[in-house]
Subunit: 262 residues, 4 copies
């Protein structure tokens, strides 16, 4: 077993996450809206620039995952496979290309935090819930009129809540999170007053993707302030739309776009 993540031991068995590839099956609920482009721009450190078109577009995405390593044993000990997340994606430009970029994200398991550290997702812990589709009873079937609720809380405060009503199948599941990700991986220096030990711009995306039909619908979305969160600063100025889709993804590494400055 490769000694991938901490704690690194002789056998590698303790690693908080095994080495990629990582396999995900899950349900995505996406709400897209426009905010003040200046509020997006201030979250883009150089050399990133605002996306040339629709620079105020934001996607708030809830995901209900089961994930595993290549061996797949986590799926049979599901406390090690299942997690939920809510994350905020904007778009940016670098080197003439448009990228997606996760600016905020909350998850509910430590292995998900570890994967985020590797991938450059700025993960915090949160309490995340979304309505699950079900073939029987009052829980919704995926289809016209189906309603899904989604909520996010952290540190005992609700940060966001949405209700999405599906209307029709859609050619896409949204455009804001549709590009390769451009993320900074950052680790401050252990020595005070020194430059970051890591401050590199990396890119990654799905190595494999499989998905059912995407559904489009209408959304109500509320954001709430909190002392240590700035999600509510990305005010909902204009709703774009909402999407629901069941997907599977394989993630297997990325590339450095710009290394840590010396």
């Amino acid at each position: 077993m490769e000694r991938f993540f901490f704690p690194r031991t002789a056998t590698g068995a303790s690693s908080l996450v095994p080495a990629p590839p990582w396999y995900y099956s899950g349900d995505l609920l996406t709400v897209e809206y426009r905010t003040d482009p200046a509020r997006v721009a201030e979250l883009l450190p150089p050399p990133l620039e605002p996306a040339p078109d629709d620079p105020g577009a934001v996607a708030l995405i809830w995901a209900d995952w089961q994930s595993s390593s290549a061996g797949g044993e986590e799926l049979l000990d599901p406390v090690r496979a299942q997690y939920k997340e809510a994350f905020v994606v904007v778009r940016c430009a670098f080197g003439g290309r448009t990228y997606s970029r996760c600016v905020y994200i909350w998850v509910d398991k430590d292995f998900a935090i570890a994967r985020g550290l590797h991938q450059g997702y700025p993960k915090k812990l949160g309490s995340i819930h979304q309505t699950r589709p079900h073939p029987y009873g009052r829980a919704p079937r995926i289809g016209p009129g189906a309603r899904f609720g989604a909520t996010l809380a952290a540190a005992d405060r609700r940060l966001a809540q949405a209700v999405v009503t599906l209307r029709e199948e859609s050619a896409s599941g949204g455009f804001v999170n549709a590009h390769p990700m451009a993320h900074h991986r950052v680790l401050p220096s252990i020595e005070k007053g020194r430059r970051d030990t890591v401050n590199e711009l990396i890119s990654s995306g799905a190595a494999e993707f499989e998905g059912g039909p995407a559904w489009r619908g209408d959304a109500e979305l509320e954001l709430f302030p909190a002392p240590t969160e700035e999600l509510a600063r990305l005010t909902v100025d204009e709703m774009i739309g909402a999407y629901y889709r069941q997907v599977a993804v394989v993630w297997d590494g990325g590339t450095v776009l710009a290394p840590t400055p010396p």
Copy 2:
């Protein structure tokens, strides 16, 4: 709004659960096995008697639910709708009929505890997980060869874990939990040394039921001891089988079989 459960206020809005009917959509993973019939019998207070046939049969059932009241608003604030449970069912006889009886149960939300108090389920809090079926990726589709893991912990100790491999469709989802429930609702007297304030035998079952095909399969099951739990006393002497089924249930009250003795 009816003032059903505590805390009872002028409006009823604070009630930990609203009045029935209660609506459930969920997935059931059932492992049936035989233990020493004496271990089942010791869990049956008079006037209950052991079931006439197969008196050592036990079902350990995991369920992954979304539930709601008649209004259904919980489904859109899913922290109030979603919960998981693991419970142990045996059979017993009373008045010439066979009943199912839940002898142990763990859930992960307070509204589920409250419903259990009403229905006579002896609910504790636990941490419960079961693999979810999913149409894409490595999570299982419901069908031959699909594998589902299920685990139960309480007070930071693992109490049970199972792996079920589906083989074929089945006419039933098991026989141990297939009867109306015979439960005691018990509340000790606030005055020391007095008889129970409530110690009544009640029966209830589903008011409505809807379900997909049941699947039968093979199970591995392990039970672990803990200082305040006796699940492991119901040793797995002979495996009967395992089942998986997606269902919807409506619960809407029950009947008193034997009132509290005066």
Copy 3:
């Protein structure tokens, strides 16, 4: 071992709580204020009546406990001993006496819920935090100028938060929670449309009490609304004061004031 609470087994070892006496060591942070007396009165079912003096007085109390049974073994497996709670107490009159009455309460462990069922506290689950005193560093020593924060959340929403600044020693730790408790123990009938199976008025209080000096101070208190909570309906119209005290309590049963009507 007595078969006290559910699940009742042959040995009694599974009981969610052992039989009283129950022993508590903990820290109490109390905020007292006045609300509209009509909002208190509407929480008092007959035969209770408003307290003759200061009928709008409310105490919101945070407590950080370690509790155990007579054997005390929980203290060495502290996940079974430690819990936190926040609760709202008002006063009422019955039979010419004044009683305290808990109208809302949130706890974070199941054994605490079970004890509440027995004692007539209408317990829900919540997330409760209060600053702990500590002899070193920036955490407060108990004394003039010490500041304690306290928060309450349930279902991923913050319901209350307070900051208390101690000023001086005090002869008492507050007057609202200073009487014997008058609680209703309530269990609806399993049969729809029938009267409650239990709806009795009981009283109880501490069998033994030990405490350090009480401290008095100033409080800021905020209450927040939530769909299934009515705490915020008890608006903070006038602050009375705040108290901090470390105590030990033994609870060992109570008495029936008015039995369930036939």
Copy 4:
């Protein structure tokens, strides 16, 4: 506000942790024992070497903390200040000096994970409990005969439990965790097959320290296996002793001992 940790925003308010200094008040329960020195050595990557004396010594430490940034506002919103941890420390040698080194650690809050990332502690999430001293009732006073329990679980499995009985005041609180820490900060490359982006050896310790008297006592300690943990591999071959101490610590950065190889 400095933009210290992710997510880095224009204001810095979202940073999962603020920049150091960080302030801690808490209680430490330490159990020291000897294991096979080879099991310690295999956890020491080059250039670290086993400590010259007593190379099999291990400390398993529980800590119950309140922590804050320079502003201290977390102490009044205690869900952001309080956390618990259990960690395993061994000793090692580098450049002619002896260092302490944390090889495993579990915490219960995300801000504690973030600080660990900075400091090189390999933090996972866990459920950690330890008996708290209290001046009244059955909870222990710190003194001869006082008994403290401590437990650790992760992923719904108990990993360790200890009971410590205090005997007498002690000149020290243990020797294994008494040196500056030598930690590796590690981040694998986002590009598969490349060397680690960060793999640096750093050292840090308390910038300020304040503490009450240390107490020495006897311990019982049990370790349990789990699929993704190797704590139990550090078998308890010989008990050294146990310690209890209340302390305050300030942490304010460290130094690089050996940078990431190019």
